[in-house]
């Protein structure tokens, strides 16, 4: 990616601050999308995305170019999200899970259109990996290869998740459509 090359050149030139200023707008949506796909909560995803960027800022001068910049950024984001999930799990154990799920679902829903709400609920009901693949793929209509890099999974595995998710969603929406008519 040309933007990545420019960022790497800045890091190697000892200008990590400038590199960070370029990196954040370039990766903001991807980092947020990845955090959101793992956490299913906008507020928590925002916190994790912030945390990931702060960690990136701290680690940027030590980036040695052995891994691709994007792979490195996604790994840091996934680790931040996993830490947040562990903390949340401890909280969830102290909270009623039914109430919590309802609150999370409402806080995450991007639209209030009935059709969108139905589709959103179907997406939320997908198995974790399928939901994650769908979220990352459709967030920016990005190539499957990139969604796979973000998830840290092989491309074919992500293709399979996407294929199954789309089939499930199509079936679920067809059934829902038939029920409503």
């Amino acid at each position: 990616m040309p933007a990545d090359d420019a960022i790497i050149a800045l890091i190697q030139g000892g200008r990590a601050g400038e590199a960070f200023e370029r990196l954040m707008p370039a990766y903001r949506r991807r980092v947020f999308g990845l955090a959101y796909s793992l956490l299913r909560d906008r507020g928590a995803a925002e916190d994790v995305a912030q945390e990931a960027f702060v960690k990136l800022w701290q680690a940027l001068p030590r980036y040695d170019g052995r891994a691709q910049l994007s792979t490195w950024i996604y790994a840091i984001t996934r680790n931040a999200a996993i830490s947040a999930m562990r903390k949340r799990r401890r909280l969830v154990s102290m909270t009623d899970p039914v109430v919590l799920e309802e609150v999370e679902c409402r806080s995450a829903m991007p639209s209030t259109e009935p059709e969108d709400v139905a589709l959103w609920r179907q997406v939320e009901a997908l198995p974790d990996k399928q939901r994650q693949a769908v979220t990352l793929y459709y967030q920016e209509q990005r190539p499957v290869e990139e969604a796979a890099a973000m998830m840290g999974l092989p491309v074919n595995t992500v293709k399979t998740h996407l294929h199954r998710a789309r089939a499930s969603l199509a079936t679920a929406l067809r059934i829902a459509g038939m029920e409503s008519t």
């Binding site: 912030q50 800022w57 991007p110 639209s111 769908v134 459709y138 967030q139 920016e140």
Partner: protein, 129 residues
């Protein structure tokens, strides 16, 4: 991943519309930069402290290593001197009994004092370093 099936294509469009707007809240980058600025302000103090501790640690290690080396050197020299004394005890004794009456007592006291003074000077200088 785009489908020829119109239903799938419609699903793709709906999913893109639904998830395409997924982004952080406005002002996200400013909030990150504020956190980064706070950390950056705290960083020089942390750096100085870390630098000081690192140097102190290095110095401690160097002094410990030198103390070991000095100990080993003294032991080695002592062992060599003892071996020589042991080996040439009779010759040294003979030389002593033969030559001491010939040496001027003033010279003997003077050179002994000079040797003790040099040793003291060396020890004081080392302790100040």
């Amino acid at each position: 991943m785009n489908s020829e099936d119109p239903r799938q294509a419609q699903l793709d469009t709906r999913l893109s519309r639904l998830l395409g707007g997924l982004d952080a809240e406005a002002g996200f980058e400013e909030r990150v930069m504020q956190r980064v600025a706070k950390l950056a302000a705290a960083a020089p103090r942390e750096d100085l402290r870390a630098q000081f501790e690192r140097r102190r640690d290095l110095l401690r290690r160097r002094l410990r290593r030198e103390a070991w080396m000095n100990g080993i050197t003294i032991l080695g020299l002592g062992a060599c001197a003892s071996a020589l004394l042991w080996r040439y005890a009779s010759e040294i004794q003979k030389l002593g009994t033969d030559s001491i009456p010939l040496i001027d007592p003033g010279l003997l006291i003077g050179s002994t004092l000079a040797a003790v003074g040099a040793a003291l000077w060396f020890l004081i200088r080392r302790s100040r370093e």
